[in-house]
């Protein structure tokens, strides 16, 4: 058993390292992944922001939403990467090796977490440039980043399942964006929930993205935002992350193991 676990850890690290090398050699991928959220920041900060009333500084409302959205979208890399590996026979090679079966997936997801660290820091820098400020001290800010990474990782498992299930990298890309769009837009990401029609508010208020956004907002802004129960939002975010991880990790690992 213990050799099994140490094997799992070593193999996951080996695969993570491989994926990080790939990212380093393909910096365009991270660049283009970052351009999109930067555009969102500029668009909402300077175009739509003036029309959105949040009761406080809109930029401090916006950036936590952008951070959650970015951590989610980053996981699409898992779907596309895994799918490409399948198409190129790399997954077949892994499957024919006496390695830990789950390591191909955990290695992929850990690499995405590492990438998310980079992207989150980048978006914080961009946010700061357009006026975003931490108003709640250092440790809550660190906690906010931890929540972001955990939440993003949970969704990476969902993207892993998507990547293993579709036939081409293009469909992997599209299939990843499909669930992410309604989740990030029908949420408190960019606008206050009470500006939405009642039926939509019910969905928006209770779905995981809103909880994550609220948790990050409260952790970074403290008493500057009203009406958010910090403990409840953090716990709900952690619970959702745990639930999503358990469900989708199980499905993805089963899918990976299933020899066709």
């Amino acid at each position: 058993m213990s050799t099994g676990i140490s094997r799992m850890v070593t193999d996951s690290i080996v695969v993570t390292k491989r994926n990080l090398i790939r990212m380093r050699r393909l910096p365009e991928a991270i660049f283009f992944n970052s351009v999109q959220p930067v555009m969102f920041v500029l668009l909402f900060r300077y175009v739509f922001g003036g029309a959105i009333n949040t009761g406080g500084e809109y930029v401090n409302f916006l950036i936590p939403g952008i951070l959650v959205q970015t951590s989610l979208f980053g996981g699409a890399g898992t779907a596309i990467g895994l799918n490409e590996d399948m198409g190129k026979g790399i997954i077949d090679r892994f499957r024919s090796l006496p390695m830990a079966r789950s390591a191909v997936l955990t290695g992929r997801i850990l690499a995405d977490v590492a990438r998310n660290v980079f992207v989150v820091l980048l978006m914080l820098a961009v946010g700061t440039a357009v006026g975003f400020r931490f108003n709640n001290g250092f440790f809550p800010a660190i906690a906010a980043i931890a929540v972001l990474l955990l939440f993003g990782m949970a969704f990476s498992w969902m993207f892993a399942l998507v990547g293993l299930s579709v036939k081409t990298a293009e469909s992997a890309q599209i299939a990843s964006f499909l669930p992410v769009f309604p989740l990030t837009f029908a949420a408190s990401t960019f606008v206050p929930l009470d500006s939405m029609p009642g039926w939509l508010q019910v969905f928006a208020r209770n779905q995981p993205v809103s909880h994550a956004v609220n948790a990050v907002r409260k952790l970074t802004q403290g008493s500057a935002v009203q009406g958010i129960n910090l403990a409840a939002e953090v716990w709900l975010t952690l619970a959702w992350s745990g639930g999503i991880t358990i469900v989708f990790a199980t499905l993805a690992i089963r899918k990976y193991r299933k020899v066709d």
Binding site: D11, V14, I21, K88, R93, P98
Partner: protein, 364 residues
Amino acid sequence: MGFVNYRGRVIIVNSSPAPGTPMIEVSGITKAFGSTKALTGVSLTVERGTVLGLLGPNGAGKTTLVRILATLMHPDSGTARINGIDVLAEPQRARGLIGLAGQYAAVDELLTGRENLEMVGRLYGLSRTDSAARANETLERLTLTEAADRPVKTYSGGMRRRLDLGASLVGRPIVLILDEPTTGLDPRTRSELWQFITDLVAQGTTVLLTTQYLEEADVLADRIVVLDRGGIIAEGTADELKAKQGGDVVDVKPVDPDNIPRIAELLSDIAGQPQIDVRTGRVLVPVGDLRGVDVLTTVARMISDSGIELDDLAIRRPSLDDVFLALTGHAAEQTDGGTGATDEETAPSTKRASRRSKRTERAA
């Protein structure tokens, strides 16, 4: 022979099964994809330290069998054992024994050759230093040292293929499974790879390789299994298969391919049943028990009487190509019409013989 270094511990792998058991035993394997029957009950064995050539045209089921043996796919029925280990029941143990080079090179384009090999070595359970040493050694053996630290995307097709083979070797597997290892390689690289595989076998590795090149099976394989439409249609050594063909053949090539059916018709009563090779535009007449020279003269006379103009007329030993044609009714290579295999069939057979004997000497 047969030591495997598993996470620093040396395990003698072939101590468990009786020395007499074959290294690979496949029995009654069937596999269907929807209504396509890819394998229809394939059984074969490969003895320790020998090479089995799995020969067959496109779609014969070669890759399907390879994938089942490499634990990538479950058959619908049947069993497969490697070194006595049931591949279906204990896939993880089986994986520790095999090295697979699939039909298409499965190497990471963005990693360097060295990084690729080191990664695979680590995933076989080698320590960091061991996998680095193995990678070095493998790169050297495959003459990739110069390109070792370049990303694979800068490699030529042949270099990729070699690296892919290298990846199947870093774990020092006792069984090597190669799916069309030399497809798409130039003749020189191909014969280098042949030499390389021959050396591995001399050191005790057991090899199952699929190929569409009959010459390849002829040069490398101790035994050949011919697969067509999911079933085995012939097996034996290259010589046995050629003998089945019935001695020498008279090879007739008209200038105008339209005359082929007429020639076959004309010559149908002289000796064996004439066979038409559409791809090369020839009619082959097996000599059977008759004297080759007699058949040749009769053929020459009849053709000249008929007024058909000939490009070539010869008596020769049957090649595996002819055997394949006789067995399946179609030529081995259907797709690209590449003539590599047949042209090289005329390579001096002494070279082949010396390669063979070198191998047996070393294995002894």
